[in-house]
Amino acid sequence: MSVATITSKKLFIIDEKTSSLGLIVGFVAITMLFITFLATFSSMMLKELQYIHIDLMTKMIAVGITSVLVISSLLFAISHRQWLSGKKKESSFYLASSMALGIVFLFGQISYWQLLVKQGLSGLNNVLVGMVYLMAGAHAIHLIAGLVFLAWLWLQLNKGGELKEVRYRLIGWFWHYLSALWTVILLYLIITV
């Protein structure tokens, strides 16, 4: 096949494995970012630079908010399954629900942040609290990116055009990853604080 006869689009088709691997390397990078935050947090804890005291009730609220994200992730998985079995309407519904819970989680995080500030836990004079806010903020930025992907997917789904399965799957991976990431961070914080 001569180059003269190949169009630009045909030349550069990104296959499924390539996209998947790219995303996995991306996960490695994001994980390293959060590992560094957690390591810094742990080091500050070990050096006893400062203390955080959070009561059980406040901790349970955090668990509640995080479970919203976990449910959102599960709804996405259901949506994907529905789509695979050809049930596009149901798929769209579960996807919208997943997205809505993602937004609820975001607002939940902001409210939780305000609650901590009201309890006198400011990130400006307590580095440990600052680290928690930083991790939540960094996670939220990734989550907003995830919501943009989810919204795009929902639009594609409702347009009725052709949608590649790999896109559905990879957006799902990202969403599940973000859910798992925050769950691990929260568990770590609950255990150590």
């Binding site: 630009s8 030349l11 390293m32 080091s43 500050m44 004079n125 680290m131």
Partner: protein, 567 residues
Amino acid sequence: MHSESFWRKDIFSTDHKTIGKQFLFFGIFFLLFGGFQAMLLRWQLAYPGQPVPWWLMGFLYEGTGGIIDPDGFNRLFTMHGTIMIFWAITPILIGAFGNFLIPLQIGARDMAFPTLNMISFWTFFLSGVVLLLSHFLPAGSASGGWTSYPPLSLPGGGIPGLGQAFWTLSVTLMGAATMMGAINYIITVIRLRAPGMTYWRMPLSVWGLWLTSILNAIFVPVIAAGLIMLLLDQLLGTQFFVAGRLAAGGGGDPLLFQHVFWIFGHPEVYILILPVWGIVSDLLAIYSRKPAFGYKVTSICMSTIVVLSSIVWGHHMYTTGMSPLLGKAFMFLTLLISIPSSIFFFNWLGTLWRGSLHFDPPMLYTMSVIWVFGLGGLTGLYNATVTSDIYLHDTMFVVGHFHYTLAASVLFGGFAAIAHWFPRMFGRMLNPLMSKIHFWGTFITLNLVFFNMMVVGYAGQHRRIYNPSEYEFLQPLADMNVFITYAALVLGLFQILYLFNFVWSLVKGKVAETNPWRATTLEWTMDYPIPHGNFGEIPQVYHGPHEYSNPNTDQDWAPQTVEIKSS
């Protein structure tokens, strides 16, 4: 060939070759800028308090009576280090040659994610703009050193204005761009190798660039985390790295930043040098007309160093009061790196041994890497050892050492790569006479500069001091400092010759034949200009990248696309 508009073809191109060239021009610009700053630094060290002469653009210091003031000196060494490492070496070696070589040498049409590749360059470009803009801030650019340690780099550290925040922002942006490149390089090598191009048949240049990308993907996020915290400290008043009197509350830990910085910073040394090791290993084989000695061992050694590099950061911090036991552990691990380094170093010598050496300009530059890297590596042992490092820490000895390992090795590696692949990139040959004059001029003066830096450092001269003549014990070194400065100025003059040669050859250089060096790798199998998409048909690869002087071939080289039948 599909037609594209000027903007898509030359500006926002997704063709890896165009992006490679964009990185090259971008890197050369910053190399000259950072190099010029080095000349000003040397002027101050040789003639402290004397006005900068007109031929060194003394008018830049009109506001201070033509003299580089102490703040200006701090800004100079900060920006010199930052620019050379992040905006000169990185784009030239990793950005330019990573982009240009990887797809061509493994037989791919382009990078795995061409659009991401384009975004990577423009993010890099934006980071450079932010850094340049910081020079025009009312209080000037950053001046906390290229490491920007807190608390010095924080508002309470005494550095006025927003220079430090701009520094942090620009390095963070640069890191994001590097990450995008790293993902692309890693996946391209894993997924887009041509049929027959096994890992053990990849050119060592690709090995070096691939390993560099793995390090980038793992460790750039580490420094990104540190920089985000630093930026919040600088702009929002958090106190992650603030302690003592400066902290309004309980405060954080400035030393933590050093850990985070060097967990990235030491792998960064290998991030910058690995592409050079790969390129040197390949070019030595080409210009010795021999297969690279110990090809597999060299790639295994480079991979081993990648692993070891991630656990030795503490040797940058021996003087921070770390536990002696920890210091010993870091010393042991650091010295361990000398084993794989020595092995592939001897492999280079093995490649040269009884080879048919062709002293073309790329070979001259390549052989000089052996010398400068050898010296840099050997002097590194003193810095790796706790007892000697405590004396040598923060002296000009360290400056000389890392200029040998990083600046000199990477510069010569870059010059070698440009001289070798110039015909592929631009279809013309670099003028060989000017290249050879540049080589000898650079090789001699560079050694005079960096070797003597180590000498004055060994004699006790600290780095980053504004006026060495203020210290009585350094006054006998004044003549030596003047000598180093003149050697540096001559070194700078030879780079003007290089720039002239580069531009002249680009326009008027001899038109290159398809494979002027009779090299075997895939990029030399196509006529210039190589179209977007590279290969008409993806080539079949039959053997490794260094089939030279094989008795079963008619000529002394066999391209990777030609099957060798044993007689």
